[in-house]
Symmetry: C2
Subunit: 109 residues, 2 copies
DNA sequence: TACATTAATTACAAAAAGTAACTACCTTCT
DNA sequence: AGAAGGTAGTTACTTTTTGTAATTAATGTA
């Protein structure tokens, strides 16, 4: 009978929210604008907006508004967000070593 | 404009499937039976069954049947599954350092 | 005034998750 | 034989979350 660590459970709840991993990996590549992320990732504006709002509330993503024309809004990782880099790296490492060519086209059903 | 690594995308799709992280972390603690996992984790039998089936198909979980009375079915991690340990460890590490006390009771909304 | 641009938000149909009750398969007990 | 009990699921049904496309808000330009 394992006891579940509440901090781990919270972190996992965050990371296992759909698209969050891809958003983090995109932002680890540097500051991004909304429309950039929208074209980088296979995610719709509705969910990208939801997720960024959630990640901002969790203190993982920072949002900066530049009142230019047209308005520019930049998203970047806070220190707390950047601290997730090793997690993303380990996932990449596992993917490189264990995801086979044939698996690439299959969804998880 | 970042390009998305398909292997990473596949791995992330897997890990970001709800409950998969908790199931992996439970199984990293050793072989488990269905009912054990059901009481360890805040997940219903329906979804536990779905996820174990999916993880078995992905070659991450092994399923062993012992025809005793009552029937005993054991779940454990394959090598591919065990290779996810560093990922889980990094998540635990981030959780220890960055998940605050107040956050523990809040859901990600 | 009409239009362009970015960053969202709304409305609605489709898919996935949550819950609880039920089934299948065996074994033991009476 | 028939009823009861244990494990591992499955089914039926409701609620929540996603995906898609159209719409809005704020601002500046022609």
């Amino acid at each position: 009978m394992e006891k579940l660590c509440p901090r781990f459970e919270k972190a996992m709840g965050l990371l296992s929210t759909r698209w969050v991993g891809l958003i983090l990996s995109d932002l680890l590549g540097g500051t991004k604008r909304f429309s950039e992320m929208e074209s980088d990732l296979p995610i719709s504006g509705r969910l990208l907006s939801d997720r960024l709002k959630m990640l901002e509330k969790e203190g993982i993503v920072k949002r900066n508004i530049y009142s230019e024309f047209p308005v520019r809004i930049e998203y970047s990782l806070s220190d707390k967000g950047k601290a997730l880099e090793p997690v993303i790296q380990e996932i990449q490492c596992w993917a490189d070593n264990h995801v086979t060519e044939e698996e690439l086209n299959t969804e998880c059903e």
